[in-house]
């Protein structure tokens, strides 16, 4: 019995110690999700992509169909990161959730996770996953509620402008950009921090998702679109390196 305890605790401490230092690739490699189950199409296993989160509750999770491809193209054109520009749609209970290190949730209306989904999402985020939530408008209340239920013990904190997420690739000294006008409030970026790493980044009153869309969709000026893409780039780089 003693041996069993020692073995298990040894294991815990060994893994815990490792997990702090391990980078994302190592974590992903440990997840052991078979690639062939992830998607029927052929994808480059080392290529990074952004998965759109198909959440429940009735909100328009599909809002902004051109956003993610545009964003991924921007990353591809401006970095050497291997990128799969095809947008993937994922639900939390999908088998291949853990294959995607970066989830993007946007829309209007209600976002709701079931108990099982919360459990799984919590595991995903605690294990190194990243979730970017873009309030396209009117989701603030429900997002905060869901996050508080997801991580009741953690505080959704506004990230200061010197946080690495604003400097991981581009220097964004004024924090998140204001892409769209919603309620005449400043754009704010909030985070749930796990183990020193931002696991959920929630953008309020910024709407970079709209900024990623095709120019004619919202008639955003180029500088706003660029600011949105740069912010997205910073978030992605941060998520991949922390």
């Amino acid at each position: 019995m003693i041996r069993a305890y020692l073995f298990v605790f040894g294991l815990i401490f060994a893994l815990f110690g490792q997990s702090i230092a391990q980078d994302r690739d190592a974590i992903l490699s440990r997840l052991k999700i078979p690639l062939k189950m992830a998607s029927p199409r052929q994808i480059n296993p080392s290529a990074v992509t952004v998965a759109r989160l198909h959440y429940g509750g009735g909100g328009d999770w599909y809002w902004g169909s051109s956003a993610i491809p545009n964003f991924l193209r921007f990353i591809k054109e401006n970095t050497n990161i291997p990128i799969d520009t095809e947008e993937q749609v994922i639900q939390i209970m999908d088998n291949n959730l853990f294959q995607y290190p970066f989830l993007f949730a946007t829309g209007h209306g209600v976002m709701k996770f079931s108990v099982e989904e919360k459990e799984r999402l919590r595991t995903y985020l605690s294990g190194g996953g990243f979730l970017l939530i873009n309030d396209s408008y009117g989701m603030d209340k429900i997002i905060r509620k869901e996050i508080s239920e997801l991580f009741p013990e953690r505080e959704l904190v506004e990230l200061p402008f010197d946080h690495p997420i604003y400097h991981s690739y581009y220097d964004l000294p004024a924090g998140p950009p204001k892409i769209h006008e919603h309620d005449n409030k400043p754009a704010q970026g909030f985070g749930i921090i796990i183990n020193g790493r931002v696991a959920i980044y929630y953008l309020y009153e910024s709407d970079i998702g709209d900024g990623w869309e095709d120019p004619q969709v919202h008639n955003d000026p180029p500088e706003k679109r660029e600011a949105a893409l740069k912010m997205g780039m910073n978030i992605l780089i941060y998520a991949l390196t922390h």
């Binding site: 294991l11 505080e155 006008e181």
Partner: protein
């Protein structure tokens, strides 16, 4: 020879006598000796405890001594002495014999064998003489009596001594007898007490305290005693007991006391003995046997069928049970020993026996109430189980079902559709048996009969769910001011205690009277207008204050750089704060107005046009306080802070300008509100007239159908219609008053409208009809009724025409004016273009630039004239966006600058402003076109909001389809598959709606007006189509259709509301410079994973296959524990 024989005989006789006497004396001596020995041995035994060897030796010696004494003193006497000796004793006694006797004996002896030389004569002579001489002698004199007496004395003495000892020491000889009678035993002398082992050889019960020791009894106890005990395989252990302190009990045998020690919780067999003084009890053996105990409990729970719970087996050695009432429990216990009795003893003392089978026992019982019990065992030895554990039976009651009416959840006024949208959330722990809707109709304050409708819902709702349905109260024939009071009763499926019924609170769905609706609407409208007027007044005051203050400051400064006085600073601050407060209040007012519109949507008076216009007005109200005004206020405060006179001067001017703008907008909003008030009133009165006419028609119909007896009962109804007409007249009087107060450009039409009502005398016919009805005169009553109806319809016709010319005619005029304004804008824009062309290529020093400036000035004045017209139009139509005026103002500003630049011969710069002016003019024209489109749509009876109009149309189709489907199914409570063909047609209709919706969704998608849930609606529709197509139509299909309809309605409402919001959303965000949020503290920054997170993380790791299952199971178990405490390392 005879003589000698005789003599010998005599001597022999003497000898024998002597011998006998001596023997007797010897016997007596021996007796004395025996007594002496006995006394001696007794003394020895009394003094010392004789070891067995010594004791035996003493006994042997004593026996030997006694035998010797017997021999020596008694038996040897029988053999001792002889005739010669006796003869010698006789010679000695009787000297006169002179030896003759002895001689005679010798001669007699010799003669017979050898005379040894003596003559026979002599010998004979001697014999004769001896005989002669002995003849007179008493030979017995030599027989000694003394030894007898002597020994008798000795014997007597010894016996006397023994008796003495016996008297003095009773038991003296009994002890010595005991000692010597059992020579092989060590007999101790009696010590005055006895020691009896207690409890002796016996059986003790395991784990029970057990007393061992001895009973001491006697007159004198030793000071202490020791109890020795030894467990099997153990060593002797000793416990001393002080006897002095023992409590003694008196008895006939002397005192007695218990020498005792307690063996705590004896587990193994043991021996013991007790020693007190010189007495030691024999060792006793105590066998330890176990008591009966319950070693295992296994519970099998069989829940009541209605709970749909699977049987559960609890094999945790825990007899506590918590289960729903009615659960049957099979309890199987295991015992460590065979038992003769096992039973449950409940806290109410009732018992329930187990059926015993070897080491197990079983019984079954039902849970009916909370109880406590112990398991009572008795083994074959009669031992009971020690300290039985008390277990609890918790009878979990089947909770009452919960019903929550989510929608409407409040008392409501019925809308025109006469639908009560109901959304009920039900929940229960084990399921439901029925949901019923109970309602009563209240008419004129009287409650009608109870009505019950059973609501069937989908089987998918097992223990909780939401039931959504639209209750059509149209068939209830509610009259205005009637109401239906309803509640739900939800019964659960408890078949043990009987279904429990939860009742929701009573809700009321009221059909408001037209009077009420009008009154409420007017009140709300008045409030809006009053508020807007208050705000306008307040802003005027503010503006006036600011003007006066600016004047004062200017006078005080008089060109100096004197700083602003403290009082003036405070005044400005106060004005700015007041302005901010008013802005907030206006926001609230706009919000309340939105709520009012929501309420109005529900009532049956407001038509779509009015509502949409009100929504536009609400938007204008919301836009009254523009961001520019806020900025002006902030700049004012900033300037005040910086104390820069020039900046402050400019800021005050800007603030005043913003106030002017605000007042203008408020003025426009008020004008529109007032206009809408009239339109609403006109609309309401027309509706009232329609209702009166309809009621009269109904009365006529009832009269024609009624028999004579029933006619009088119709009279009050006719009176009510008359009252309604009177009321209409009162309302018209109010409209007239309203028209006096509110400037209205259709006064003539309004007058006609009012006159039509005022001059209507149908009331007289109604009175007549009522009287005829009371008199049961059918035909005259009917005649009067028809006349009244005719007059009413005529009045209604006039009213409707009046309304059309007042409202729609006005709208058409506005639309024409907008068209004209668009033409003018285009014309002005064209002129601006020409001027731009004219400015092209002109040299900078050319005088032509000044001409251009003059032309531009003329154009600007024309635009100014148009701006005034647009402002006026804004008071007529809410569709003229405030932004439009702003654009024209900007255009005029650009023209001003262009004029200035041209006047100063700065042609290039002037042209730039011209171009900007043109751009703003064109934008204004586009906005004007939007306004025209919206206005025209309203005028045509269509929606001002195209997407919502389309969706609204789809909603209506869906509603109709729902009704058809419901019709096919007869009623929700009796859903049967409908006619196959009819169902297919319905499926086709549903498919048509779905495709239209998808098309609409595409349109929305392209124009970024996506509705979040349209895709979900479409999916639901597909399911409905499948169900309708396959003829598999049930309550679920109807429910789904209602859900679809409800969502579509929501979406329509959202669209109607979103126009303004969309504009805001589509706006490019303006960067707001602000300070960084404060740095994260250590905890926030670190956000360590807690143990739960870590465990989750580890659960997803992979491990060596042979251990993986165990490791993950371990993590899972840890995760399941809410409080995880790591086990302490074992040393």
């Amino acid at each position: 020879m005879d003589k000698i024989d005789f003599l010998k005989k005599r001597i022999k006789s003497t000898l024998i006598k002597e011998r006998v006497l001596l023997f007797l004396a010897g016997i007596l001596g021996a007796i004395a000796g025996l007594m002496a020995i006995i006394i001696l041995l007794s003394l020895v035994a009394g003094i010392v405890i004789l070891p067995i060897g010594i004791k035996i030796s003493l006994l042997v010696l004593s026996c030997a001594g006694l035998l010797y004494i017997l021999w020596r003193l008694a038996f040897s006497r029988l053999l001792g002495s002889s005739l010669e000796n006796t003869a010698l004793k006789l010679e000695h006694k009787f000297p006169e014999l002179k030896g003759q006797l002895i001689a005679a004996l010798q001669f007699a002896e010799w003669g017979e064998r050898d005379a040894q030389g003596f003559s026979s004569d002599l010998m004979t002579a001697t014999l004769i003489r001896a005989e002669e001489k002995c003849r007179g002698l008493n030979f017995n004199e030599i027989v000694p009596i003394y030894p007898i007496w002597r020994n008798l004395r000795f014997a007597g003495l010894a016996i006397g001594l023994a008796i003495l000892l016996l008297v003095i020491f009773p038991g003296f000889f009994s002890y010595s007898y005991k000692v010597y009678s059992r020579p092989t035993e060590l007999i101790t002398p009696p010590l005055g007490y006895k020691l009896i082992s207690y409890p002796g050889d016996t059986i003790a019960v395991k784990y029970r305290d057990f007393e061992i020791g001895a009973i001491i009894q006697g007159d004198k106890f030793p000071d202490k005693a020791s109890i020795f005990y030894k467990f099997s395989d153990g060593n002797w252990q000793k416990t001393d007991v002080e006897l002095k302190s023992l409590k003694k009990a008196a008895s006939s045998m002397g005192d007695s006391a218990l020498i005792i020690t307690t063996i705590k919780q004896a587990k193994r067999p043991f021996d013991y003995y007790v020693r007190a003084g010189r007495i030691t009890t024999p060792a006793a053996h105590i066998e330890v046997v176990d008591r009966p105990r319950v070693t295992g409990i296994k519970l099998s729970l069989y829940y009541p069928d209605y709970t749909n719970l699977s049987p559960t087996v609890i094999d945790e050695n825990d007899g506590s049970i918590s289960a729903v009432i009615g659960t049957r429990v099979n309890m199987r216990i295991e015992t460590n020993l065979p038992v003769q009795k096992a039973e449950m003893i409940f806290n109410d003392s009732s018992r329930s026996p187990f059926e015993i089978n070897g080491l197990t026992a079983e019984q079954s019982f039902k849970i009916d109430k909370d109880r406590r019990y112990v398991i009572y065992l008795v083994d074959k030895q009669g031992e009971e189980n020690p300290d039985p554990i008390e277990y609890h039976i918790t009878a979990v009651p089947d909770e009452y079902p919960v019903i929550e009416v989510i929608r409407p959840g409040i008392d409501i006024n019925l809308g025109e559709d006469m639908i009560v949208p109901l959304l009920v959330r039900i929940s229960d722990d084990y399921g439901f048996s029925s949901l019923i809707l109970k309602y009563n109709i209240f008419s004129s304050g009287e409650m009608g009969q109870d009505n019950v409708a059973v609501l069937h819902f989908t089987d998918r709702i097992k223990t909780e769910g939401e039931i959504n349905f639209a209750w059509d109260v149209e068939p209830l024939n509610l009259q205005p001011a009637n109401f239906v009071q309803y509640h739900f009763e939800l019964a659960d499926n408890d078949r043990i205690s009987g279904p429990k019924i939860s009742v929701s609170r009573n809700y009321i769905a009221r059909l408001p009277s037209l009077d009420e609706i009008i009154s409420q609407t007017e009140q709300a409208q008045d409030e809006n207008i009053n508020k807007a007027e208050d705000y306008l007044k307040s802003h005027k005051e503010l503006s006036e204050r600011m003007k006066n203050l600016a004047r004062k400051i200017e006078q005080e400064k008089k060109g100096t750089d004197q700083k602003l006085s403290w009082q003036h600073q405070k005044e400005i601050e106060d004005i700015a704060n007041k302005d901010e407060q008013l802005a907030e209040q206006m926001k609230d007012a706009a919000k309340k107005m939105s709520e009012m519109i929501n309420q109005m949507e529900e009532n049956r008076l407001s038509n779509r046009e009015i509502l949409e216009k009100l929504m536009e007005i609400q938007k204008l109200f919301q836009e009254v306080a523009t961001p520019e005004m806020k900025e002006a206020r902030l700049k004012l405060m900033e300037a005040l802070k910086n104390m820069d006179p020039n900046e402050l001067d400019q800021a005050m001017k800007d603030f005043q300008a913003s106030q002017e703008e605000l007042m203008k907008r408020l003025d426009r909003t008020i004008a529109l509100l007032k206009k809408m008030k009239i339109e609403q009133k006109v609309n309401a009165l027309t509706e009232m007239a329609k209702e009166i006419a309809a009621n009269q028609e109904k009365m006529n119909q009832n009269t024609s159908e009624a028999n004579k007896e029933k006619l009088p009962t119709l009279a009050p109804g006719e009176q009510k219609v008359k009252e309604q007409l009177e009321n209409l007249k009162k309302q018209v009087a109010e409209l007239r008053n309203m028209l006096k107060d509110i400037p209205y450009n259709k006064a003539e039409e309004a007058d006609k409208f009012c006159t039509a009502v005022e001059q209507n005398d149908a009331g007289q016919n109604m009175d007549n009809m009522s009287q005829q009805l009371s008199s049961a005169k059918k035909e005259p009553a009917l005649d009067e009724g028809k006349k009244a109806l005719s007059k009413l319809l005529s009045m209604l016709d006039t009213m409707q025409k009046g309304q059309a010319s007042m409202c729609k005619g006005n709208d058409n005029e506005v639309a024409d004016r907008i068209r004209k304004a668009i033409d003018d804008l285009n014309y002005l824009s064209g002129n601006q273009e020409i001027l731009i062309d004219n400015a092209t290529g002109i040299k900078w020093e050319s005088e032509v630039l000044r001409d251009l400036a003059a032309q531009q000035q003329i154009l600007k004045e024309s635009v100014g004239g148009l701006a005034k017209r647009i402002t006026e139009m804004g008071k007529e139509s809410p569709f003229i966006a405030a932004e439009l005026e702003e654009l024209i103002r900007k255009s005029m500003g650009n023209m001003d600058l262009a004029v200035d630049k041209f006047a100063n011969k700065r042609g290039t710069e002037g042209k730039t402003f011209q171009q900007e002016s043109l751009f703003n003019l064109n934008r204004a024209a586009i906005r004007m076109l939007d306004a025209l489109e919206a206005q025209s749509n309203c005028n045509k009876g269509g929606s001002c909001n195209k997407p919502s109009q389309k969706l609204n149309s789809l909603c209506e189709k869906q509603d109709m389809l729902n009704q058809k489907t419901q019709g096919q199914c007869n009623s929700p409570k009796d859903v049967t598959p409908g006619n196959g063909e009819a169902m297919k047609r319905l499926a086709a209709e549903q498919e048509g709606i779905r495709k239209s919706l998808e098309q609409l969704q595409k349109e929305f998608g392209n124009s970024k007006e996506v509705l979040g849930r349209l895709d979900a609606i479409s999916d639901e529709m597909k399911k409905i189509i499948d169900e309708l197509g396959s003829g598999n139509v049930g309550a679920e299909t109807l429910e789904r259709q209602i859900k679809v309809y409800s969502r579509m309605l929501d979406a329509t409402k959202t669209l109607q509301r979103k126009d303004f919001t969309e504009q805001r959303k589509a706006e490019v965000g303006k960067d707001i410079i602000r300070n960084s949020p404060s740095s994260l503290n250590g905890n926030q920054l670190q956000g360590d994973l807690d143990i739960e997170d870590k465990l989750r993380q580890f659960m997803n790791e992979s491990y060596p296959a042979e251990y993986e299952q165990h490791i993950k199971a371990y993590f899972k178990a840890l995760l399941e524990k809410s409080t995880y405490v790591p086990p302490a390392p074992e040393n």
